[in-house]
Amino acid sequence: MKQMLEYVHGNSVIHRLNPLTKLLFAIAACVACFVSSSHLFLLGMLLLTVVIAGAGGVLGRAAGVYKALFILGFFLMLFQLLFTPQGRVYFYILPGVPVTDDGLHFSTLLMLRMMAALSPLSLMLMLTPMNELLTAMTHSLKVPYRYAFAVVTALRFIPAFSQEMDQIMQAQRSRGHETDTRNPFKKVRVVIPMCIPLLISSVRKVETMAISLETRGFCTGPRSYRKKLGFTLFDLLAIILIMAVLSLSVIIG
């Protein structure tokens, strides 16, 4: 999970793009994927993300993202398939539950949409350092620093909390607590011994962090910024590409 959100250091073309450009791409890609109903377009989008991942040097990590989204998408696909009875029937999976051509069409569309719409977001997080995102949000988007910081720090803490959760799970398992059960009701009871320590630990960390920030002059007045974010030719090209993709999604339909 943390692999999908953690920044990977690098100096590629993609890394050097303005974070706003990358943010714009993530949002535009999402929109385009929902506007379009063409399998071909969605596949094309996926391919585009693969190219971007390659250019950014994160193909390995990206493969993990694709796999995770594929699994999620696959379940959604199955779900959709079973609930779309209209169209020409191919065969019956269960008595009264047909697999139809319409069903296949919509369900595969759903799966592709899921993958193509969400992977750009993950990619963008992998290829943008947090503080650049922060600077972009405060300077260009005029988001108050406090809120931008909260969002970025929350993201930065996800791997730390994930690790903490692992440790808590291991501690409880060592006391004979079974954590793997398929029963959803049992699952709830099983999860409480892990959520409470995590919650308490999170609150403690947050308190220490808040105090630490106070002692480093956080939000005590106007703030300077070390790095200036540029807008280069590549950014312009990227924006043109984004516009093209969006228009294509509308045209193809």
Binding site: E164, Q167, I168, A171, R173, S174, R175, G176, P193, P197
Partner: protein, 275 residues
């Protein structure tokens, strides 16, 4: 009791070996310290003992059970594990419930459970606070509650991951005296610690881990004198041993200030030095 044969472990296929061909035997009633730098593999090794991590190759056998094929919840009846941070375990609203948690997991009958809980809390001095919320207690008290909940499982083996970190000296001694008592009653104790003084005071045998390998494995008094190996592992001998080493063979078996004082006194008397 515990038999580790050619244990190798890596987190996944591409990762480097965290544990590299470790073979160890730990017998009943031993009190063993495992020391080494952070990242040497100490906690990873401990987690192999109760099945939280399974060997990539080699085997770990606890009381005849192979950890690779036995569930952690079953191994929990043989090997109790106290983690470094008690707050990773504590979640109940009373100390009593917290101690009982493990017992319900391992299928202990309610009548037996109550008796055990009272006995253990007496042992650890928690009698007066059984109804209190663990989160209102001090760090040292919470550590004792976590220890109580582990002891309630009445396992023959007890594994402690840095039980004295972050505690003041008195709390540290309190916990270690309890552990020493348990060892005297026959429990096997395996402890990871950074505190060389605690290791020299309580543990009979010390294992030094470095880069996932066993560097030293012998009596504590002997291992803690090997300053070269310790240095390699990023450690230093405890103060008195450091001092003793500077005098060569003169203070060969000294580990505590009392030992050393006795040795010096006898030196000055027999050496005929002016006193």
């Amino acid at each position: 009791m515990i038999s580790i044969r050619n244990l190798c472990y890596r987190y996944n296929k591409k990762a480097p070996l965290v544990l590299d061909n470790i073979s160890l035997e730990i017998g009943r009633g031993e009190f063993v310290a495992i020391i080494g730098q952070n990242g040497a593999g100490k906690t990873t090794l401990l987690k192999q003992l109760n099945g939280l991590l399974k060997p990539t190759s080699g085997s770990v056998t606890i009381n005849g059970l192979d950890t690779a094929t036995t569930r952690t919840s079953v191994l929990a009846r043989h090997i109790g594990f106290l983690f470094q941070n008690p707050d990773h375990q504590i979640f109940c609203s009373t100390v009593y419930d917290e101690i009982r948690f493990g017992l319900t997991n391992t299928g202990c009958r309610p009548e037996q459970a109550d008796e055990r809980i009272r006995r253990i809390s007496g042992l650890l001095g928690l009698d007066g606070i059984l109804t209190r919320n663990p989160f209102t207690l001090s760090k040292g008290e919470r550590q004792r509650v976590a220890l109580a909940s582990v002891l309630a499982l009445e396992t023959d083996i007890l594994v402690l991951d840095e039980p004295t970190t972050g505690q003041d000296y008195r709390e540290c001694v309190e916990i270690m005296e309890i552990v020493k008592d348990l060892n005297r009653q026959g429990k096997t104790i395996i402890m990871v610690s950074h505190d060389m003084e605690v290791v020299v005071d309580y543990c009979k045998r010390t294992i030094v881990l470095h880069n996932g390998r066993v560097l030293e494995d012998d009596d504590t008094g002997i291992v803690l004198r090997k300053s070269e190996s310790l240095g390699l592992a990023g450690l230093e001998p405890p103060q008195i041993i450091q001092l003793a080493l500077r005098f060569g063979p003169l203070f060969r078996d000294v580990t505590s200030p009392e030992d050393m004082a006795r040795a010096i006194i006898s030196c000055t008397v027999t050496g005929g030095a002016r006193v």
